[in-house]
């Protein structure tokens, strides 16, 4: 099944229809009409669209003819911005409350409250300043390289996040909750790493093979989930989670075999990858940023094209929007599940390649860090759209890169980043809450109330299909 799984990569063969390309496109257009009808006429029996992108509740945008200020006040961008601000404030409170100096000052809070407040401000702002300096621009750098170094670190960390996030987002769009990016990254990295340190090939070809192997590895691992889901109806959330654990143990096992273990080492660590198998540095040797980032950009473009401009992508979205209607309209739902998972896995595999042949240069069981789980929040924050995921990946990359720097300089645990990230996703998913907190007007005409945001109800993706 391995070669088939990569078929969607080439558009002409990825269609699966027996006709020529033009016929396929015509058929797709007809399908689109039929499908829309099917969805419309499902007489309310069928669950509403399953695409978390719309499910997040932002269904109703501001009316186009509303005054500019009103449009800004009710727009999605403002809610997103306020969600980030709110989450940062809550995170800051958490930092302040747990700070030692604040605790000391609060013992005499009633005699000198300003001490407590000052200590709280110092703790929170200090942590956030360190976070910013570690992720965007380092003011204290003495050379240009030093000053922009944090920004390149952010992009380096963002690379696997974007790739894996795209995989999760793509599966979301097909109505699948892919919690298994972690395992897919690991298996992809294992395949890629093995090619990287076992074969000794000329530059160019070697890297190409490494990338390909990583994609195949991820695609096989995730495609297996798609196959099980399509054939037995097993829930993909459970399957992908279990596959994560199995992958971790599998990689640990591989790393204890002679084929993978570094000669002379008893630790579960592989030999260094060949220089020919590594992504070259993008901005010169002073930075860790590598060409994997460019691959991530290309992957984003590809996913955008796949979802919005290709027949396969259309079918996947149809399956995600309403599997029953899609089946009625002649879409092969089983194939859709397998394909969606395989492509998602290939993208996660790319993240594995970025790690093993870009950042880490060696295969360990920790090569995936927690990128696979962060990828879920990245995809959710990006509303499962390719460029949204790209932006969210960079934001979370900044959090992570900055979090490391913050932990080193102020001692604030990097776990705070997880808190802030998950709060952001929660708030963005519930715009009415954010609007209520900031007393913003709800979108649409006042008398329509929340009607706009409730007609497009969240997904049934959670229900066992």
């Amino acid at each position: 099944m391995t070669p088939q799984d990569d078929r969607p990569v080439s558009p002409a063969t990825g269609d699966g229809a027996p006709h020529t390309r033009r016929q396929a496109k015509d058929a797709a257009r007809q399908d689109e009409v039929r499908l829309e009808n099917a969805v419309e006429t499902a007489d309310g029996e069928l669950p509403p669209p399953a695409v978390p992108a719309t499910a997040a509740g932002l269904g109703a945008g501001p009316a186009p003819d509303a005054p500019l200020l009103h449009r800004i006040m009710t727009g999605n961008a403002l809610v997103a911005f306020l969600s980030v601000v709110l989450s940062l404030i809550l995170g800051g409170l958490l930092i302040a409350v747990t700070d030692q100096n604040v605790a000391r000052a609060s013992s005499y809070f009633f005699s000198r409250p300003q001490d407590t407040l000052g200590a709280a401000w110092t703790a929170a702002s200090g942590a956030y300043l360190a976070l910013f300096q570690g992720s965007v621009i380092n003011f204290e750098g003495d050379s240009f390289t030093r000053i922009i170094y944090p920004l390149t670190q952010t992009l380096t960390v963002a690379t696997p996040l974007i790739c894996a996030g795209l995989g999760v987002a793509l599966a979301f769009r097909a109505g699948l909750f892919n919690i298994g990016a972690q395992g897919q990254i690991l298996i992809g990295a294992t395949f890629a790493g093995w090619i990287g340190f076992t074969l000794h090939l000329p530059a160019g070809i070697h890297l190409l093979l490494v990338i390909l192997a990583g994609m195949v590895g991820g695609a096989v691992w995730a495609g297996l989930v798609g196959l099980l889901k399509a054939r037995t109806g097993a829930h993909e959330v459970i399957l992908t989670i279990m596959f994560n654990y199995i992958a971790t143990n599998l990689v640990l096992y591989f790393l204890s075999t002679p084929a993978f273990q570094r000669p002379g080492s008893t630790n579960p660590i592989s030999p260094q990858l060949d220089a020919t198998a590594l992504y070259p540095p993008l901005l010169g040797p002073a930075f860790r940023l590598h060409w994997g980032f460019v691959v991530a950009v290309l992957a984003t473009v590809f996913v955008w094209w796949l979802l919005n401009r290709s027949t396969v992508g259309f079918e996947l979205r149809a399956v995600g929007a309403n599997a029953s209607a899609a089946r009625t309209a002649g879409v092969n739902v089983s194939k859709g599940y397998i394909l969606a998972m395989a492509i998602a896995g290939a993208l996660a595999g790319l993240a594995g390649v970025a790690q093993v042949s870009g950042t880490e240069k060696v295969l360990t069981s920790g090569v995936a860090a927690s990128f696979g789980f962060d990828a879920i929040t990245v995809a959710l924050l990006g509303r499962s759209s390719p460029w949204g995921t790209f932006a969210a990946g960079i934001l979370f990359g900044a959090f992570r890169a900055g979090g490391v720097a913050m932990q080193a300089s102020t001692g604030t645990s990097i776990d705070i980043v997880l808190v802030v990230q998950s709060l952001i996703v929660l708030f963005i998913a519930a715009p009415p809450l954010v609007r209520a907190l900031f007393r913003l007007p709800s979108p649409g005409a006042p008398r329509a109330g929340k009607g706009g945001s409730t007609t497009r109800t969240p997904a049934s993706t959670g229900a066992a299909a």
Binding site: G57, T232, Y253, N332, A429, A463
Partner: protein, 425 residues
């Protein structure tokens, strides 16, 4: 396309489905190859009691090849039976896969223990340990039952367990009383439930999204507090007293089942009570009927005057109590003290147990026991020294889960409205 439709038809009317016979045949052939042909030549000892016990039972000693052959041939016979039944268009009786699974388990145990360096295992310890390990799983899956039966998908079991564990450790350390920790764990579970309920019911956010994000939130929050507060002064914040094991006199001395049933901590006894109460309440009370109605067909329930969202809200909160108490197992029973991400995915396994148990409290109970058994078996076997690599043993519970949800059980049906928010009107 075609597979999906035929499978759907076969669900209701039992038109030929070749899935079961094929799986059974393949597994039976594997069993023949590994357990019978590859059986170790020695005897295997299963100890039923320890020397010092009040009642000493003789150990069961069996010959590995004999058991291997008998079990493998019996499994082949069952597979043939399944094939014949399917060919003649009849339904494969439900006892066939069940007996098959038991045979497989016996053969596997005999084979794997027989191949170990010391082919001698304490069966009673294996079983008692399984129950102990299954305790948080059972609480977790009961929490899932309560939520999903009322129509809310609960992915946040992991978060409820973890926050329960955290709160139990902190409260018990500060107060010096493990019982206070138990109550705090329940409260913590409710807090997580509250967020789940508010976001998924009030703000109709996708329930799976809320669940997944809540797990991340709890993991980050407890991890942050762990490093910022708990590890700074572990003596004060993170040294909870453990719950004592309460032995019931006489009953605890019964061999094999005594330690399982009557030698537990209060959390262990609560687990049995919770399973029974949830089962009876769900199927034999007005509350249960309403809960199930709200989860299956909210519109109908609403028409008959049941407040759908209120019912769901209460159920989700109640689920938080259950899962929170389950979380206290980690810090008050298993080990004394909280550790970062110490639930290690147990919440997800509880979710799988819930599905494997077909959304039924009793079913979930046994499914969770199976996972507890798989986990404990891998622990015991790695001590015995088997030819199977350690990593594969550690995979066992997860592989069992995959087989459980994808394999022999067939298509299990979730409550009709599970995961779909109810908007009146």
């Amino acid at each position: 396309m075609s597979t999906a439709t035929t499978a759907r038809v076969s669900d209701g009317t039992a038109v030929r489905s070749w899935k079961n016979p094929i799986i059974l045949s393949v597994v039976a052939l594997l069993a023949l190859l590994v357990f019978a042909l590859g059986a170790p030549g020695n005897d295997v000892t299963f100890r039923l009691s320890e020397e010092g016990d009040p009642v000493v039972l003789p150990s069961i000693v069996v010959s590995a090849p004999v058991i291997g052959w008998i079990a493998a041939l019996a499994m082949l016979a069952l597979a043939v039976l399944a094939i014949l039944r399917t060919r003649s268009g009849q339904k494969v009786p439900t006892w066939v896969p069940a007996v098959f699974a038991v045979l497989f388990l016996i053969a596997f145990l005999t084979w794997v223990v027989g191949s170990a360096r010391t082919p001698n295992v304490a069966l009673y310890g294996l079983l008692a340990g399984s129950v102990t390990l299954a305790v948080p799983l059972i609480f977790g899956s009961l929490s899932g039952v309560l939520c999903e039966r009322s129509g809310v998908v609960n992915i946040a079991i992991e978060g409820q367990l973890l926050f329960g564990a955290f709160a139990a450790a902190v409260a018990a350390s500060l107060s010096g009383s493990a019982l206070v920790g138990l109550v705090a764990a329940a409260v913590a579970g409710v807090l997580v439930s509250l967020v789940l309920a508010v976001f998924s019911i009030r703000y109709v956010v996708n329930q799976v999204i809320v669940g997944v994000v809540l797990n991340v939130l709890v993991s980050g929050l407890t991890g942050f507090l762990f490093s910022a507060v708990l590890s700074e002064d572990a003596e004060r914040w993170n040294s909870p007293p453990r719950l004592p094991v309460i032995e019931i006199p006489l009953l605890a001395d019964i061999p094999v089942i005594g330690p399982i049933l009557f030698q537990q901590t209060i959390v262990g006894y609560l687990m049995y009570v919770a399973v029974a109460v949830v089962y009876v309440a769900l199927y034999h009370s007005r509350w249960g009927l309403r809960t199930r109605a709200v989860g299956e067909h909210p519109k109908a329930a609403d028409t008959l005057g049941v407040n759908v969202n209120r019912m769901r809200f209460l159920n989700v909160l109640l689920a938080g109590v259950v899962a929170g108490i389950g979380g206290s197992f980690f810090t008050l029973v298993a080990v004394s003290g909280f550790g970062r991400d110490m639930t290690a995915g147990q919440g997800y396994i509880a979710l799988a147990a819930l599905i494997f148990g077909r959304w039924n409290p009793i079913g979930a109970f046994f499914a969770a026991l199976l996972f507890g058994f798989a986990t404990n078996l891998s622990n015991v076997l790695s001590l015995l020294g088997t030819p199977v690599p350690d990593q594969f043993l550690r995979m066992l519970p997860y592989v069992v889960t995959v087989f459980a949800v994808a394999g022999l059980v067939g298509r299990s049906r979730a409550p009709g409205a599970s995961g779909i928010p109810y908007i009146k009107g």
